[in-house]
């Protein structure tokens, strides 16, 4: 019997996918796990992987063409069947295929730490002053966050959307190169009692996976080989090509929109059409924050280096917990205040951007936030986002400090009420105790949905952020 291969739904925002290349051709035999095609979705390029065995009988969707989720893109014949058998018309078509992302350009560098000395290069990682002392003195203080050249927070998923089709084990990034294969589990004592099949243990050992991070689906949560396979697939689920050089077309050329660009276009236009934006800006004296960051580094109080961006996220989270209207959505002629503070951080990738989300910031200390943010940034470079890490945001921060930006404003992510645009820390003349002095200041601008937020609230919210950043010791307590 033949079966249909349909366009799988790979994220909650995915509505259609485009075939980049067919990796199998009619007549090719397909084994379980074989890559069938490269598919471009709104979030990433993925490899369509077969769950079934058989022979590819017919390609229905040619390369370069798109089809909606669920559409039949190819027909596969089961092993031993005669060619030309009618496709399986069962009411619930099997899903013989899943997808894992592909790096279309595998030679792409995946190292995570760019330097502050190259401000023209948008960055996704957080340099420290210790690593780059020049940056602290040249008058243009990078805020520490890598920022996109333009901000299109389109890729942040609507928090009210249904969870994605992708299973979500409590994934943790594993750096294979950083982690030597663990020695074979000793078959006695507590370690051996960790519920996992011998086969799963061997597969995990080979892949360098810590078994305790894998969610088991066997009886009583036993980790099986399938769980390891799913875990590995999940690790590769979202692999983005990080932006190395700005993507620019040749003069006079016309570019067909990638799925990611289409989504950005759709959601940004929707935001500007539906949401009545207004903007409020405040200048923040960052003298204390710079000292605070330097002293944290000097004392090595935390394992994790704390960046300006982490400090700004923490200050924002504290301000959001006091001004809950800023952490809300205008829905169905009502205002829904979100129960948690999930802050999305825009990160530039090739041909667009993504917004990984730090969930439940209200419960996280500054080092917790730093740890999560660094992990997400590393993932933007190396891949391995879980669906959860790219969805559920309730507030977004876009930081263009690294580009030396004086001041900018951002477009609100649909489903959220506000977005904070963070510019560079710069040496500016400042009046202190009646004297003009050279101080370090930073402009922040909040874009607000006027249906939810009025000017007074926006102003107070910014004053709150300002208060925390100008008195940064409070960030260690909250």
């Amino acid at each position: 019997m033949s079966s249909e291969i349909t366009m799988p739904k790979l994220s909650d925002t995915m509505e259609e996918g485009k075939i980049i290349h067919w990796l199998k051709h009619p007549g090719d035999s397909i084994r379980h796990g074989d890559a069938i095609a490269e598919v471009e979705t709104d979030k990433a390029d993925m490899v369509l992987e077969s769950f079934d065995e058989g022979v590819l009988e017919e390609i229905r969707l040619p390369e370069g063409q798109s089809a909606p989720v669920g559409a039949v893109i190819a027909i596969m014949r089961k092993p031993g069947d005669q060619p030309g058998a009618a496709p399986n018309a069962a009411h619930e078509p099997e899903e013989p295929a899943t997808a894992i992302p592909t790096a279309r350009e595998p030679e792409e560098p995946v190292t995570a730490i760019p330097t502050a000395r190259e401000p023209e290069e948008p960055m996704t990682a957080i340099p420290t002053a210790r690593e780059h002392p020049a940056a602290a003195e040249n008058g243009e203080h990078g805020n520490g966050l890598a920022a996109p050249p333009q901000f299109h927070p389109a890729m942040s998923a609507n928090p009210s959307a249904a969870p994605t089709a992708i299973p979500m084990p409590p994934a943790r990034v594993v750096h294979p190169e950083a982690q030597a294969p663990a020695p074979r589990q000793i078959e006695s004592g507590e370690a051996a009692k960790l519920k996992a099949s011998p086969l799963a243990r061997r597969a995990a050992e080979e892949a360098g996976i810590d078994l305790s991070t894998v969610r088991g689906t066997g009886p009583d949560g036993r980790v099986t080989k399938r769980d390891i396979d799913n875990f590995l697939r999940e690790q590769q689920m979202f692999r983005f090509r990080r932006l190395i050089a700005p993507h620019e077309g040749a003069p006079g050329s016309r570019e067909t929109l990638s799925a990611m660009r289409k989504t950005i276009a759709h959601r940004m236009a929707l935001s500007k059409r539906e949401i009545p934006h207004f903007y409020v800006t405040v200048e923040i004296d960052m003298e204390e924050a710079v000292r605070f960051k330097n002293s944290l580094e000097a004392t090595e109080l935390f394992d994790e280096d704390v960046s300006y961006n982490d400090i700004i996220i923490k200050a924002t989270a504290l301000a959001l917990s006091r001004f809950t209207r800023m952490n809300a959505a205008f829905e169905n002629d009502g205002i829904s205040i979100y129960p948690h503070i999930n802050i999305g951080v825009a990160v530039a990738v090739e041909d667009g951007l993504i917004v990984p989300v730090i969930h439940e910031c209200e419960r996280k200390s500054l080092p917790d936030i730093a740890r999560h943010a660094h992990r997400l940034v590393a993932k933007a470079a190396q891949g391995g986002f879980t669906a959860e890490e790219l969805s559920g945001g309730t507030f977004t921060i876009s930081n263009m400090g690294m580009l030396g930006i004086e001041h900018f404003s951002a477009v609100i992510v649909p489903g959220q009420a506000a977005i904070l645009a963070v510019s560079a820390i710069k040496d500016r003349p400042l009046v202190r105790n009646g004297q003009i002095v050279i101080g370090k200041t930073m402009m922040v601008t909040v874009s607000c949905d006027h249906r939810v937020i009025d000017g007074v609230v926006a102003g107070r919210f910014l004053q709150e952020i300002k208060r925390f950043l100008e008195n940064p010791a409070s960030l260690l307590i909250g």
Partner: protein, 470 residues
């Protein structure tokens, strides 16, 4: 006439249907079973159970003969009361069929002895079954329906049952020993009856179209079995396709085609064992919107759901392999999926296949050839029983254990055993597969000595090039 409403109506009370019904009761569904023949289906009445009773008689007579030849135990003339051999087999079937009735009663499953026919996605009409009183209820209403009607013997076109031509069904009650018999088809059923008749001194010829016995099985196992059959005096004709047969006097003459060359076999009786076909006709499937796929099997998804969302199908009527224990396991799985306490999916590769001739054959998972076809880098451990102490002591040195594992993880991909009591030994490997053990665990687990199962341990070690006794 009255209508009755149920959560689940199961059509068919074979090893799939009756097990599913009891499991559904345990999950507190209101359950009815519709059966047009005897409770227990083919397995209990016309398959596994009565045939194993006959094979036990065959093994007994073989061992008595062996006693005379090998143990120095003098045995007088062996006389066989063949009708009693058949009667004992019928007794076993009868006992177990009564057992199924008892289980239904104990579990409060309502049994309707009638022919069930779908009249819609939630309704089953009860029609009178042959030799049974008309049902008191004419229609059952059900939230969900489970089709478990099983399979029936297949015949080639033009074959006529009777006058010495039998399927396994007739052979089970045929209480006269023929002088000679031709067995068409060297699958499990054909070979079990070939062994049975040979044990009772019948001249047996096995005819098979394929180039090996047990098509689809491991080639080494098939060849080992062929040698064991030839040693017992069975004539095995491989690569011979059936063309036609006609009665000439007291003999049937079967015309064959051996790759273009005509051939013929004469025999007093003919056993047709060319496979089984799903019983999916006359169930009213069209009316309920249930689709049938290739070979007449009902099309199901991995939740056992048919194209009609309220109707499920399991066992022989849905897909191969046609095995009782597969049907039972599917029945439990289907009901648990319906109840929402189990994920969809079912590992067919962990279903063992067993053949109960002597030597027995038992297999699970992939053969070496199948694993290689899938592109898996395999390692194989093979241990002959003559290397195992117990096998030598009890004079059962025929056969071997072959364990197929992946080189990457030492995953146990499959196991083929041919030998005495192979069918009792395979469960170790089936459990091993279910628990995802590797050859390391099987090889390092001390197996009791002396037992035949040591061969499995040694085969696991052999896969790692660490066999001690071979």
């Amino acid at each position: 006439m009255a209508n009755s409403r149920y959560d689940l109506v199961v059509i068919g009370s074979g090893p799939g249907g009756y097990v599913a019904a009891i499991r559904a009761r345990q999950l507190e569904m209101r359950v009815a079973v519709v059966e047009c023949d005897r409770p227990g289906g083919v397995c209990l009445n016309w398959g596994c159970i009565p045939s194993k009773a006959l094979l036990n008689s065959a093994e007994t007579i073989e061992s008595i003969r062996g006693a005379a030849q090998e143990h120095g135990i003098e045995v007088g003339e062996i006389r066989v009361d063949f009708p009693r051999v058949i009667a004992r087999s019928r007794d076993a079937a009868e006992k177990l069929s009564r057992g199924v009735r008892y289980l239904f009663k104990k579990n409060h499953v309502d049994l309707y002895e009638a022919r069930g026919e779908l009249t819609g996605p939630h309704s089953v009409a009860l029609k009178p079954a042959p030799d049974k009183p008309a049902p008191e209820v004419s229609m059952l209403e059900a939230e969900k329906i489970l089709l478990a009607t099983g399979s029936g013997e297949r015949l080639f076109a033009g074959m006529q049952i009777g006058d010495g031509v039998m399927t396994s069904h007739e052979a089970l009650i045929h209480d006269r020993i023929p002088k000679s018999i031709a067995v068409i088809g060297a699958g499990a059923v054909g070979l079990e009856f070939a062994y049975f008749y040979r044990a009772f001194g019948v001249e047996v010829t096995v005819i098979e179209l394929e180039k090996q016995m047990l098509p689809g099985f491991d080639a080494e196992v098939a060849e080992e079995l062929r040698r064991a059959f030839v040693k017992r005096g069975v004539k095995v004709m491989l690569g011979h396709g059936y063309k036609s047969m006609e009665k000439r006097g007291a003999q049937w003459s079967i015309a064959l085609d051996a790759g273009g060359q005509p051939a013929a076999v004469e025999a007093e009786a003919v056993l047709v064992a060319v496979g089984r076909a799903p019983l999916s006709a006359a169930l009213g499937l069209e009316r309920a919107g249930v689709e049938i796929g290739r070979g007449g099997f009902i099309t199901i998804d991995d939740s056992f759901r048919t194209s009609a969302p309220s109707i499920y199908a399991i066992g022989d009527v849905a897909r191969t392999p046609l095995l009782a224990h597969k049907a039972s396991a599917e029945g439990v799985a289907a009901v648990e999926i319906m109840a929402g306490i189990r994920e969809p999916g079912f590992d067919l590769l962990s279903i063992a296949g067993c053949i109960y001739c002597e030597p027995e054959v038992a297999t699970v998972g992939l053969t070496e050839a199948q694993a290689r076809e899938r592109g898996i880098d395999v390692k194989v451990g093979k241990i002959p029983f003559r290397a195992i102490g117990k096998a030598v002591a009890v004079n059962q040195t025929e056969g071997f254990v072959k364990l197929v594992a992946s080189r990457q993880y030492s995953e146990v991909l499959g196991c083929q055993i041919i030998g005495h009591r192979a069918t009792d030994m395979i469960s170790e490997v089936v459990l091993g597969r279910a628990l995802e053990t590797t050859t390391a665990e099987i090889g390092k687990t001390p197996h009791p000595h002396p037992t035949l199962s040591e061969a499995i341990m040694e085969a696991a070690l052999a896969a790692e090039d660490e066999a001690i006794n071979y």
